[in-house]
């Protein structure tokens, strides 16, 4: 974590996002997709958000980016409450938070070159220069030869690097990382994880890191929030959540992760169990 503990870059307070659906007999039902979620993300910190599909993680992310309208509660970016801003001001503030998508295969426009993909947000913001694009790509470990290539010419790991470069284009304070490595090959995941660590340090970025792979969450996060049925059932330092989980759901999640160590198996040869 950073030396100055104080500054909160993203604060979500008692957020409620509801959807109404019609049940099989035509009765209206309200689904509380996000049900009273509060957390604060500090500068330079990584908050891991874990939970299973349908728990409301994605709705929470969409709401942070203004794609869903909350019923109540607030989202503050760098101390500005998003709901109270004019749309122009809101766009400027919203740019401080950027998203890295899960699937680098579908999240990049296949007809654009790497240069154009990274240049797009810069052009919209009126800050484009070829040098900026090249240095952003350099930042994520892609050389000048990448500029003219299209997504299909890159591997999954390289595509995810392009997605990260694009997210960094407007110098955000916060990156929301939605399962950033789960679509990648195992041997490439570690490369992207190391890159994320380096970039965080270099740019004092804060990460809201969403993943179902708890070992990656543990490795990258300072604090961890566990979400179930729209609520954060447990929030704490990663050591507290992983070593002394309080909520039964957290415990069942942790108990479900396969441990990549055969010595922990009941049928392990005794001399291995001891070592």
């Amino acid at each position: 974590m950073n030396d100055s503990p104080a500054e909160t870059v993203l604060a979500v307070d008692d957020l409620q996002v509801h959807f109404s659906t019609r049940g099989s007999r035509g009765a209206r039902r309200t689904i509380r997709a996000v049900d009273g979620v509060s957390f604060a993300l500090r500068r330079g910190e990584t908050l891991g958000l874990v939970g299973e599909s349908g728990c409301g993680k994605s709705t929470l992310v969409r709401t942070i980016f203004g794609l869903n309208t909350p019923v109540s509660g607030s989202i503050e970016v760098l101390g500005h409450r998003l709901a109270g801003l004019s749309s122009r001001r809101r766009r400027a503030i919203q740019n401080r938070v950027q998203l890295v998508f899960q699937d680098p295969y579908s999240s990049l426009n296949p007809r654009l070159t790497a240069h154009d993909i990274v240049a797009e947000p810069l052009r919209i913001a009126g800050r484009y220069s070829r040098g900026t694009v090249a240095s952003l790509l350099d930042d994520v470990g892609l050389g000048a030869d990448a500029l003219a290539k299209r997504p299909a010419q890159f591997s999954g790991g390289q595509r995810q690097r392009i997605g990260i470069a694009r997210a960094l284009a407007l110098h955000p304070d916060v990156l929301v990382l939605d399962e950033p490595v789960s679509a990648l090959d195992v041997s490439v995941q570690a490369q992207v994880i190391n890159l994320l660590k380096d970039l965080q340090e270099k740019h004092s970025l804060s990460y809201l890191f969403i993943a179902h792979d708890l070992s990656v969450v543990r490795y990258l996060s300072d604090r961890v929030a566990v979400m179930q049925k729209g609520k954060l059932v447990e929030v704490g330092s990663k050591d507290q959540v992983f070593d002394a989980p309080e909520h039964p759901y957290t415990r069942s999640l942790l108990a479900s992760i396969p441990v990549a160590d055969p010595r922990r198996r009941a049928d392990a040869p005794t001399q291995l169990q001891e070592s």
């Binding site: 299973e52 090959d185 041997s187 570690a190 990656v216 479900s256 396969p258 990549a260 160590d261 055969p262």
Partner: protein, 338 residues
């Protein structure tokens, strides 16, 4: 494990396709492994490593365009590569059964779950009465932990959750008490708590029927928890094989060592985790030497790695490694894991 009788023996199996100008691209390159009775063998590899194509070839399910270029697949003394389609349909689903990754595509969306399982039963036991079939379906569903099986059998796949659907697929695979169960990433599409339940269901099913299992996965956690023996595949080849204990304890191939070192565990407190550099080669650019050479960081590596393909050779009590410098891997493994 290896003192048990051999069920399935795959030797030098190669699979590939022909490009328009007649060149052959090899996807699976002289792969071999042995499955013993009641054993769990894990085929481990990343996407494109050839693990799924290998199993499709073994099961006679290669899609159009892919062809077997050589080798043999012997199941209980019969070479499966010589079977006629008719012989295949008698064997597949009865003695060799499959569970695929996505239960939604494995089930027919417009047929009731029960009648799909019933079809699997009657396909290999014709002449069974309606009542007997229905009660068999009920037992199969109950065995995989589906509550109220008689009632649930009448519903359609979309009415079931992902985990329940995968249970139905497992019930179907176990319908005829197979000797070999092939499970291709059976839990990848599921949430982690459901994943654990499904692995439990598979373990119970194997216990009841004494089936051996080939588990295809990229998840080393699952491998560590379920495998007896492991085959690590890379770029269409088996690069290391051995018992789960030996491979996790002392890998003898630099790819295995790198994979294990890049695993994030609670013991990782350092700032960086070891990452294998580069990307896996594409099938067309695998070259003549070791396919891992361009990413290998073994200090001992030499010119030999670029020119000569290393053969799989014994490298430990239970292990074989396809590396010219398997002996030097221990020091490398210790260094990258530190």
């Amino acid at each position: 494990m290896s003192d048990r009788p051999v069920l399935l023996e795959v030797t030098d199996l190669s699979v590939g396709y022909r490009t328009e100008d007649g060149a052959v691209v090899t996807l699976v390159d002289r792969v071999g492994f042995t499955l013993h009775e009641r054993e769990v063998l894990c085929l481990v590899g990343e996407s494109g490593s050839g693990k799924s194509v290998t199993m499709l070839a073994v099961l006679g399910l290669l899609p159009d365009g892919l062809e077997i270029l050589g080798g043999s697949v012997v199941y209980r003394g019969r070479d499966l590569l010589d079977l006629t389609p008719r012989e295949w349909s008698a064997l597949r689903g009865a003695e060799l059964a499959m569970v695929f990754q996505d239960p939604m595509t494995a089930l027919n969306p417009v047929k009731r779950v029960g009648s799909q399982i019933a079809r699997a039963v009657t396909a290999h036991t014709p002449g069974l009465g309606r009542r007997a079939v229905a009660s068999r379906v009920e037992t199969l569903l109950a065995d995989v932990g589906v509550p109220e099986p008689a009632e649930r059998a009448r519903s359609y796949p979309h009415e079931w959750s992902g985990g329940m659907r995968q249970r139905a697929v497992i019930a179907m695979a176990m319908a005829n008490g197979p000797s070999v169960l092939v499970a291709d990433e059976p839990t990848t599409a599921l949430d982690v708590t459901i994943q654990a339940q499904i692995m439990r269901v598979l373990a119970d099913a194997r216990e009841r029927t004494e089936a051996a299992m080939i588990l295809i996965t990229h998840d080393l956690g699952l491998v560590a928890e379920t495998a007896d023996r492991i085959c690590i595949m890379y770029a269409g080849r088996v690069v290391e094989t051995g018992s789960v204990w030996d491979i996790f304890e002392h890998p003898t191939h630099p790819y295995t060592a790198g994979l294990l070192a890049s695993l994030l565990s609670s013991e990782h407190t350092g700032d960086r985790v070891y990452a294998i550099p580069g990307q896996p080669p594409s099938p067309a650019s695998r070259g003549t030497g070791c396919p891992f050479a361009s990413r290998c960081e073994l200090p001992a590596k030499s010119e030999l790695c670029l020119t000569t393909r290393p053969a799989l050779a014994p490298s430990g009590s239970s292990q074989s490694s396809a590396c010219h410098f398997a002996d030097a891997t221990a020091d490398f493994a210790a260094e990258v894991t530190a």
